[in-house]
Point group: C2
Chain length 338, copies 2
């Protein structure tokens, strides 16, 4: 029997490498403790010479530490899970960038999961996050507090981003949806607009959208709601509906898109068709990317600050990770109209 290759232990499932700390130690003529110290930056606890030898050995053997083993004893992976609502949204991805900017300043790193606007999938992801070795989780969830509690069984630092929840047991970072919608609407009301056509996805889903609706309503309650399905819709039909709605009243009308996508997909055509004149018919809406601002120079929009929301969430997470326990406070990152 050939024991040569057969005996070769594998440290990775894929690959031939076996090299572990003891190999490095052997080659460098030191104990594994010394190697460990070197790896963890305790260079003051060894002579420069040994350090060099260890470094050489590591390099020569192409040694890479086994993170699972390290995590098991350190009880930390340095990884923070971020579960976003839908990564196709600029809001989510930009928030993630903000989160990472903060986390990385302290050596942590965020990894992104995509719940794809699906309640069950989100729950599934939270389970995985709970089962894997993440030091914390930043959530932008659709599920309720109760479901989240039941799903994430392991005690771990949690921050809720972009979701306002009553009685949240975790800190949350949110936007002033109600206020800014109100402010924008007021601006147009002052200019004589008396009616709103609101374009939105299904209202039931997110509390955010509901807040925006209430914000508008608190100023102008003559609102026509046009619901468009996120998944699939007939572009032409929506345009017709919009046209009909616009022409259906003598009042000066404000078209209010709760999501940037509706702005970029429908509004340019309305401009082109001459239906929007900024005088009797104007447009506004939430616009995170800034793309929509180029539709027309006179259009004023609402810009959220997903990056800052992420950064704030990341900062709170860092505090929790470092044991400075914070209360489940609520931080409001205001959106801006103008």
């Amino acid at each position: 029997m050939n024991w040569g290759k057969a005996m070769e232990k594998k440290t990775q499932k894929h690959g031939k490498s076996v090299v572990k700390m003891r190999d490095v130690a052997a080659l460098a003529n030191v104990s594994i403790a010394t190697v460990s110290r070197y790896l963890n930056g305790n260079l003051d606890r060894m002579s420069a010479d040994t350090a060099d030898r260890v470094a050489d050995a590591i390099d020569k053997l192409n040694y890479v530490p086994n993170s699972a083993a390290r995590q098991m004893v350190k009880k930390s992976s340095g990884l923070v899970a971020v579960v976003a609502g839908n990564i196709d949204d600029f809001f989510s991805t930009e928030m993630f960038k903000g989160i990472n900017a903060m986390l990385e300043s302290k050596g942590y790193i965020g990894v992104l999961f995509d719940s794809n606007s699906d309640l069950d999938r989100e729950k599934h992801l939270m389970q995985i996050v709970s089962n894997q070795y993440f030091d914390g989780a930043i959530l932008q969830p659709y599920n309720t507090v109760q479901v989240i509690r039941e799903t994430i069984k392991r005690p771990m630092p949690i921050v809720m981003a972009d979701r306002e929840i009553e009685q949240s047991p975790w800190p949350q970072v949110v936007t002033n949806n109600y206020e800014v919608a109100r402010q924008a609407t007021q601006y147009y009301k002052d200019k004589g607009f008396k009616r709103v056509i609101m374009i939105t996805s299904s209202l039931s889903m997110a509390a955010n959208r509901r807040d925006r609706y209430y914000g508008i309503q608190s100023v102008i309650n003559n609102i026509d709601v046009l619901e468009v399905s996120e998944k699939s819709y007939n572009h032409k039909k929506v345009l017709e509906q919009l046209t009909t709605l616009i022409n259906g009243s003598q009042e000066d009308t404000l078209i209010f898109a709760l999501k940037e996508r509706w702005l970029t997909e429908f509004i340019p055509r309305l401009f082109y068709m001459g239906l929007i004149d900024n005088d009797h018919v104007a447009v506004t809406g939430f616009s995170d990317t800034g793309t929509a601002q180029y539709i027309d120079a006179k259009t004023k929009l609402i810009a959220q600050n997903p990056y800052l929301i992420g950064a704030s969430s990341g900062e709170i997470m860092l505090n929790m990770l470092e044991g400075k326990h914070r209360d489940p406070e609520k931080i409001v990152v205001p959106a801006k109209f103008g």
Copy 2:
């Protein structure tokens, strides 16, 4: 000295819970081996009764397995790292969705990292991916093969997505950038267009853009290139440049955007200004989200299929994970014009 709380062992860095397999075993009156079997689905190796007792105990204690310990012995985490070029791009996020669709069918799960179009950051992320316990990595990299090799020291399955590289040691999944750009250009040439204004980010960055350029050039070589900075640019100035370029020639001109963003940000205005008539001045370009198709009914665009590219990458990864070693083949997922 108070040994009460002080002696409490913690299994998580944050949280009071200590419950581990032996606790479950104790409560269920079985050995930890049995619990382990239960957890790993070896239900045929125990009586239904014991299984129930174990299940109860797990539930009662709210036990969650320590994934680090499990990974250490199983040499697998079930996690696949995806390093995307820029998650603000629909292409990247949609590709990620495609990847996950495949991976999840076999119980794996993809996690997303964002290199933010930054070479150094990408390298840093690859290091992390290499050091952490991921079963494989799907890369959409800007770095060269050599850098990647040096950075990811640990032998692990790797797939290159959306990046065409000569002599790649890893399988790759790409788009027919050259061909489809050529095809689109040909279409307009046949209609009498003799000149192209190409809008792009910096050409040097990605091979993809270069291929597109060559594709156009192979049909029409009268090309004016307008470079726009991804990070920041003056919208008004770009519009002026475009206007000047358009008016700078008597030839029928095709405006060709290498990226959807330039389509949605500049073209609607040009339409509105009457500069585009689809007759002497037409527009085309790469458009992944489909948003741009509503700019004008007559506009024909190029649609890539990031989801499918992701799915293919995921499938290849699965094969590699299951040991069916594939050659570093190249799969082409064609983009469509029309």
